[in-house]
């Protein structure tokens, strides 16, 4: 597809999602108390979007990922939360 065709197919969808992200950040900011590590991870991942380099989807996923290579000793939960808690520890 040409860049024009990509815009024709996906601009409105991407615009909609970007406004949703902005509204999410406003919602967190309006909330009381302090956010947990996920908020900081999200803000850091957002920085990837302003890059001119290709591979932005992979870079965002990497930003949320556990960067370590060793297994953990014990799984104490089954669920993943979307961001690596260790980034702020």
């Amino acid at each position: 597809m040409t860049q024009q065709q990509v815009l024709d197919l996906y601009f409105m969808d991407a615009r909609h999602k970007l406004i949703d992200v902005a509204a999410f950040l406003d919602r967190v900011d309006r909330g009381e108390g302090e956010p947990d590590f996920r908020y900081e991870a999200f803000r850091k991942a957002l920085e990837v979007l302003s890059s001119a380099e290709p591979g932005k989807a992979a870079a965002v996923l990497e930003a949320f990922s556990d960067p370590t290579n060793e297994p953990i000793e014990v799984a104490t939960t089954k669920a993943a939360c979307g961001a690596w808690p260790g980034a702020n520890q």
Partner: protein, 268 residues
């Protein structure tokens, strides 16, 4: 449009979903063993589940003339209890020769713990000793990148395992290249909230090519869409992809992988 659903947890779905899938062009469905959403209390629960996967569910699908295949294992979400896992592994041989069992799966890791790796190694050993295909679940979200690497290390450490006989599922943009570079098949799971959207799946196909890749809905008891594969095929058409290319990714590629099991009968 014809397609194969290579990863659907149909025991969690309604009969209406079968009707919708067949109406949309589904010609075969493959169901890896999965976590029930709660921990089963004993290996007996798995015995019943394996009976369901190999006896009851194929009959349910057959009512709509839909071939049903399955994969057996204890899911990584229940692998922290190594004792239970060993009990479950001991009953799998009783089922493995049944006509709709294609291999061992979906095995892998969930939180990347040492016990999960032990249980993964035991599954890989079972597959290697019986020359079975392997279907791999990779961890969710922040655990995926690390887990995918750990899983590939386990598979590569067993000389009986050929990468082309393993599909590593739930790849995303940060893991697809490492999986394909090591010679494994890659699966893309189309979920509304996590894993991969239709648009992103097609992006990856455009970037990495259409060889050794399939896509699936992994529809289960959670937020998931049983028609995610045909929805993505429609999105491919919107982008102008040729029908032959769509057919290769959605129909022929799953056949190419699964026909490595002599039990898989390719739809005509």
């Amino acid at each position: 449009m014809r397609y194969i659903e290579p990863h659907g947890h149909m025991v969690s779905r309604t009969t209406d979903d079968y009707v919708a899938m067949v109406t949309a062009g589904c010609e075969a469905v493959c169901e890896p063993a999965f976590w029930a959403g709660f921990d089963r209390s004993s290996a007996n629960g798995f015995y019943d589940y394996f009976c369901q996967l190999t006896e009851h569910e194929p009959k349910r699908a057959a009512k709509f003339n839909l071939p049903h295949y399955t994969w057996l294992c204890i899911n990584p979400k229940e692998s922290e209890d190594v004792g239970l896992a060993e009990e479950v592994l001991s009953i799998i041989p009783e089922f493995i020769d049944r006509p709709n069992v294609l291999g061992i799966g979906e095995i892998g890791l969930n939180k990347n713990s040492r016990n999960e790796i032990k249980v993964l190694e035991k599954h890989v050993d079972l597959a290697g000793s019986r020359d079975q295909l392997i279907l791999v679940h990779t961890p969710h979200l922040e655990d995926k990148r690390k887990g995918t690497r750990l899983i590939m290390d386990v598979l590569k450490n067993d000389s009986r395992i050929s990468p082309e006989r393993c599909i590593i599922d739930h790849v995303e943009e940060h893991t697809i290249k490492m999986v394909l570079d090591e010679g494994f098949w890659a699966g893309m799971t189309l979920y509304p909230e996590s894993k991969c959207s239709s648009a992103r799946a097609i992006d990856m196909l455009e970037i990495y090519g259409s060889e050794k890749i399939w896509m699936n809905s992994a529809c289960d008891w959670g937020i998931s869409v049983p028609l995610a594969v045909p929805h993505t095929m429609m999105e491919m058409r919107r982008r102008g992809h040729e029908k032959d290319w769509i057919d290769k990714v959605s129909f022929q590629n799953p056949i190419s992988f699964m026909k490595q099991s002599p039990k898989f009968q390719a739809p005509a």
